[in-house]
Every structure is written in structure tokens, then in C-alpha cells.
């Protein structure tokens, strides 16, 4: 697999074409509180709005809207999927985001564990492309911010 294919895994292109949990959930609907974050990549104008609804200590769901490159869109879609599948607590989410950031900044040294990160593990290849790390991080930074506000 050449480097480009390692970046654009099938899974990534799939998610970017069929984004999951796209469309913001109603803020006032049950359950619990919700937090919304808007993030932007000033270089290319890509942006994302992400909403996390929190029920006590548990993140109930993550929905989002935005536009941007396939990496940023796939990453948001995968993140929303991960939250939906794992039923994460706030604390767990924070740890996951930290680990994700670390792997992506590792310049190819760290791999994301599929057991933990699900489809998002396919984003490991991004870490070799330092100019694209921001794209992959966009949704995760938004979740960090949204939880803090929720």
C-alpha cells in the first residue's frame, strides 16, 4: 500500500461520502444538556459545527454538520459513530481525544488501536502528513469544546 492509499483508506472515503450522524440534533430535546462547538481551519476555510448531548456523566450522542476535505468529514463521521457505539463517559471521551491527538502528532510513530478507536483507527495514516493533522483533529477539538460547554 503506498502512502497515499494509507492516507485515503477505503473506510475514510466511505465515511466522507456517507457521513454518519450528519445533521445537528435538536438542542432542547432530551436527554440532558447539550454543548455545541464551531471549529474552523483558517487555511482552507473548512468548518464544522458539532453538538454533544450529555446525560449526567454519559455522552448520549454526537451530531454534526460541516464541510471540508474527506479527512475532516470522515473523522467527524467516525467520531460520532464511536460515541454512538461505545456510550462513553465524559472522562473516557477526554482520554480518547488526548490519545487521538498524541497519535496524530506522532509523525507516524504511533498507531491507533482499532479495538479502542473503531473505524477512526483508519486515521492513523494521517499522522505522516503533518499538514493534514489539523483536518483530522477538527471534529475531536470540537467535541472537547462541546463537552466542556455541556
Amino acid at each position: 500500500m503506498n502512502e497515499l492509499d494509507a492516507l485515503y483508506r477505503e473506510l475514510i472515503l466511505d465515511h466522507s461520502k456517507h457521513p454518519q450522524h450528519f445533521g445537528l440534533a435538536d438542542e432542547d430535546a432530551e436527554p440532558g444538556h447539550s454543548g455545541t462547538s464551531h471549529q474552523k481551519n483558517p487555511v482552507c476555510g473548512d468548518e464544522i459545527t458539532l453538538r454533544a448531548r450529555v446525560d449526567g456523566e454519559t455522552i448520549a450522542d454526537v451530531t454534526w454538520e460541516g464541510r471540508g476535505c474527506s479527512i475532516s468529514q470522515a473523522s467527524a463521521s467516525m467520531l460520532a459513530d464511536l460515541v454512538a457505539e461505545e456510550g462513553l463517559s465524559r472522562a473516557e471521551a477526554v482520554t480518547l481525544i488526548e490519545g487521538f491527538r498524541e497519535a496524530l502528532r506522532s509523525r507516524g510513530k504511533l498507531e491507533l488501536d482499532e479495538e479502542v478507536y473503531g473505524d477512526a483507527a483508519a486515521l492513523s495514516g494521517v499522522s505522516k502528513f503533518s499538514a493534514r493533522v489539523k483536518c483530522a483533529m477538527l471534529a475531536w477539538v470540537a467535541l472537547e469544546d462541546a463537552i466542556a460547554k455541556a
Binding site: L4, L13, K17, C44, R67, G68, S70
Partner: protein, 429 residues
């Protein structure tokens, strides 16, 4: 000193031998991702030829000293080289040495102008009053837009914009309506860094001067590509950046008509721009020194002089002809590829341009397209190229820009076209 004689005397009609010229640019021999580097990002920053690298290094290894302030031999020699560089760079745009102010780049030059005008005393002919109008265009680089937004905010002046047609040309009929008795400043780019179109700056200058407005031209994207004679053009002020014209980072030029520079108050203050200083007040030197506070970019200025000698040695007419040929080859190829939309009119010969095109790949984000090209060694720029409003105008947030310079060859363009054909299939759209 290494002198730049890249080719033996050639007439303006001879095509340039880009393959031979490439040897002057060490970086063009690089391999990227297993491919030869195809550098199509010169509108962001150009590469530097050996005579430029050598001139700066030669200076630092043999003559370096702070200028204008010392009697010792190195300081005197450095001052001579530095002032010769000023005359050389001024001459490159048709101007006299006293009309050229060194800056750190075009952004700095435009800020200098905007801040200086903002600091003009109420009695000055330059002072802006609430209700006065500053006119810019819808296609500007942020460097020629935000400083005017800020100046308008600070002075109560109103900022207006000359709109662009769908084909990327400026709407001159609208310009004639917008530029009126309230207009005090008209700021416009000579060549758009996104569209590559050479704007009808003579007409804009004429409209501005009819109403007595000051004209400020962004010559970043024309200085390396077209013959320029700024005094003949009649523009009041113009800026350019060294690194975009084969010169070093950290240096640029502000050209100004003598009366205009003379009327402008200082902007940055500090050493070497004053006559008398007490603890409580200072008096300032005449231009250009008035605007050159502190240690100037001496090595970079000497490098920039070598760069313009290099460009002049080849001849700007020939460079322009070469780059236009490349742009036409690029256009002709791109319009044949399904799903490629060029920004600006894609038909041939409609307007004069320099050698660049920006485009949108239907269904593929510019970042992804750029990444795909990079995997084949092709360096293009993706994003809004610091011209977000123009992209908004075309309904996109980002585009791919391929920009050429004298060292690009038809092979470079063909490599681009070949790769662009593969983008949409790769991403399955």
C-alpha cells in the same frame, strides 16, 4: 560578487530556455515522493537562483556590517552595496533610488501606507475624515483588504469595493460609479493571485486621479512576471515582495511618487530615521529613510538586487511570453478534463493573464486534490490563497492553484494535466 548573466544576449522575441535555466535553481533537482519535483507554487513563494543565494552569502562572508552608521571600511562598503541595491531594485520598476522604501514584504508595505495615512495630522492632504471613502476590489488578497478595513474603522471612512464579473474581470462600469468625489484612496491589485488576470490598472488609476484620489497598487504578482514602469503608469504607491520575485525572504519594496512619500508621516519609529532626538521628541529624516526604522534587511536587500538583475538579464518580456504559453497550455488541458471548473473565464484569449490558474475539482475537496498531486511530486497550493471573499464570490471555500515561473516547462504542465485527470477516478467521483 557573482553576476547574473543567465543567458547570452537574446532579443525580446527569443523564447527562453527553461530547461537550461532550471540548472540555476538547486531545489528543482529535488525528488518528492519518488517523483521529480514539479514546482507549481511560485505565486506563494518563488524559488531562488544561485546568483541570489551567492550574492547574499558572499556579502555575509566578506563585507557584512551595519550600514549608514560607521566610518569603518566594511561599514562603508556595506552601505555602498546596500544603496546600490536600492538603486537597482528601484530601476527594475522604472523608479529612482529615493522613491524606493525597503520593507519586510508586501504586507508590511501596505500596512505602512495605511498606518501612515491613519497617522496624518488633520491639516495634511492625506488625512481621512468620517464619510471619506476608501475603494478596494472584490478580488484582493487579504493584505490589500484588511489594512483598509482597519483604517476605515479607525478614521470613520467608508470602505467600498469594485465588484468583479463572473469571468473574473473587474466591473469598470461599476468602478466609474463607485469612484467619486468622496473617494480618497483606491487600492487594487495589478494581478490577482487567484485568477492570474492582469487588471486594467491604467483605467482605474485614471478614474482615481480624476477625483484626486490616492492610488495604491499591489504589484506582488506582477513584479516577477511583467515589465513594470511605475512612474510611467502614474500610480502613487505600489508594493512588492522579494520572496515572490526570486529574492530572499524578509525584504520587499514600497515605491512612492516623491510628493506622496514626502507628505506621509513616519510609521515605524526607532534608530536611523531621525535627525534630532531628545528624551521628549524626535524629528524625522526625509523619505525613504523616514520609513526605515532600525536595522534594515541588508543581506536580503542585496539578494533582491541580484534577483532583479537575474530577471532583467533574461528579460521580462520573454518571461511573460514563456509563462503565458504555459498558462495557455494549462488552460487548454484543464478545460478538457471532466469535472474541472476554472475560476474565471475558461475561454481562450479573453483577457491578459500571467501563468497561473485556480480550479475546483467537482466532488473532491481542494485539500484532497492537492494531496493526490503531491503524491506525484506536484506542488500546488490549496485553500483560499488569502482571498476568501473572492472564493465566496465563486461559491467555493477553497481551490487548487497551479502557478508557474520562468523555470517551469511544458513538461511540468503536462505532468499536472496528467495527474489532474486521475483525481476524480481515485476518489471515486
Amino acid at each position: 560578487m557573482t553576476s547574473a548573466t543567465p543567458q547570452t544576449a537574446a532579443t525580446a522575441a527569443d523564447p527562453i530556455d527553461a530547461v537550461r535555466l532550471r540548472e540555476d535553481f538547486p531545489i528543482l533537482a529535488e525528488q518528492v515522493n519518488g517523483h521529480r519535483l514539479v514546482y507549481l507554487d511560485s505565486a506563494a513563494t518563488s524559488q531562488r537562483p544561485l546568483p541570489v543565494l551567492d550574492a547574499e552569502r558572499d556579502f555575509l562572508e566578506h563585507t557584512n556590517a551595519a550600514v549608514h552608521r560607521g566610518a569603518h571600511t566594511l561599514a562603508a562598503e556595506a552601505t555602498d552595496l546596500f544603496e546600490d541595491a536600492r538603486a537597482t531594485v528601484a530601476g527594475f520598476v522604472g523608479a529612482d533610488a529615493e522613491q524606493l522604501v525597503w520593507t519586510s514584504g508586501a504586507t508590511m508595505g501596505l500596512n505602512l501606507v495605511a498606518y501612515s495615512i491613519g497617522g496624518a495630522s488633520a491639516s495634511s492632504s492625506l488625512a481621512l475624515r468620517p464619510g471619506d471613502e476608501i475603494v478596494t476590489t472584490a478580488i484582493e488578497h487579504h493584505a490589500n483588504l484588511i489594512p483598509w478595513q482597519e483604517l476605515a474603522l479607525r478614521t470613520g471612512a467608508v470602505l467600498r469595493h469594485i465588484p468583479a464579473h463572473d469571468d473574473g474581470t473587474l466591473d469598470l462600469a461599476a468602478a466609474a460609479e463607485i469612484i467619486g468625489p468622496r473617494t480618497r484612496i483606491v487600492a487594487f491589485t495589478h494581478v490577482s493571485n487567484v485568477l492570474g488576470i492582469i487588471n486594467p490598472v491604467e483605467e482605474i488609476i485614471a478614474l482615481a486621479h480624476q477625483v484626486g484620489a490616492l492610488t495604491v497598487m499591489d504589484a506582488c504578482q506582477s513584479a516577477p512576471h511583467l515589465p513594470l514602469d511605475l512612474p510611467a503608469l502614474g500610480v502613487d504607491l505600489a508594493v512588492f515582495s522579494g520572496h515572490k520575485m526570486m529574492g530572499p525572504y524578509g525584504v520587499g519594496g514600497l515605491y512612492g511618487r516623491a510628493e506622496v512619500l514626502e507628505a506621509m508621516p513616519p510609521f515605524l519609529t526607532g534608530g536611523s530615521m531621525i535627525t534630532t532626538v531628545t528624551l521628549d521628541r524626535a524629528e524625522y529624516l526625509p523619505p525613504p529613510q523616514r520609513f526605515e526604522a532600525g536595522t534594515q534587511p541588508i543581506g536580503p536587500a542585496i539578494g533582491l538586487a541580484a534577483a532583479v538583475r537575474y530577471l532583467d538579464g533574461i528579460g521580462l518580456e520573454r518571461i511573460h511570453a514563456h509563462e503565458t504559453m504555459l498558462a495557455e497550455r494549462m488552460r487548454a488541458g484543464l478545460v478538457e478534463i471532466p469535472g474541472i471548473r476554472l475560476l474565471g473565464d475558461p475561454s481562450t484569449g479573453s483577457v491578459e493573464r500571467v501563468g497561473l490558474w485556480s480550479f475546483d475539482v467537482e466532488g473532491v475537496h481542494a485539500h484532497d486534490a492537492g494531496q493526490f498531486l503531491d503524491a506525484r511530486g506536484i506542488a500546488v497550493r490549496v485553500g483560499h490563497h488569502c482571498a476568501a471573499p473572492l472564493h465566496t464570490r465563486y461559491g467555493v471555500t477553497a481551490s487548487v492553484r497551479a502557478s508557474t515561473a520562468l523555470y517551469n516547462t511544458p513538461d511540468d504542465v503536462d505532468a499536472l494535466l496528467d495527474a489532474v485527470r486521475g483525481i476524480r477516478p481515485y476518489f471515486g467521483v
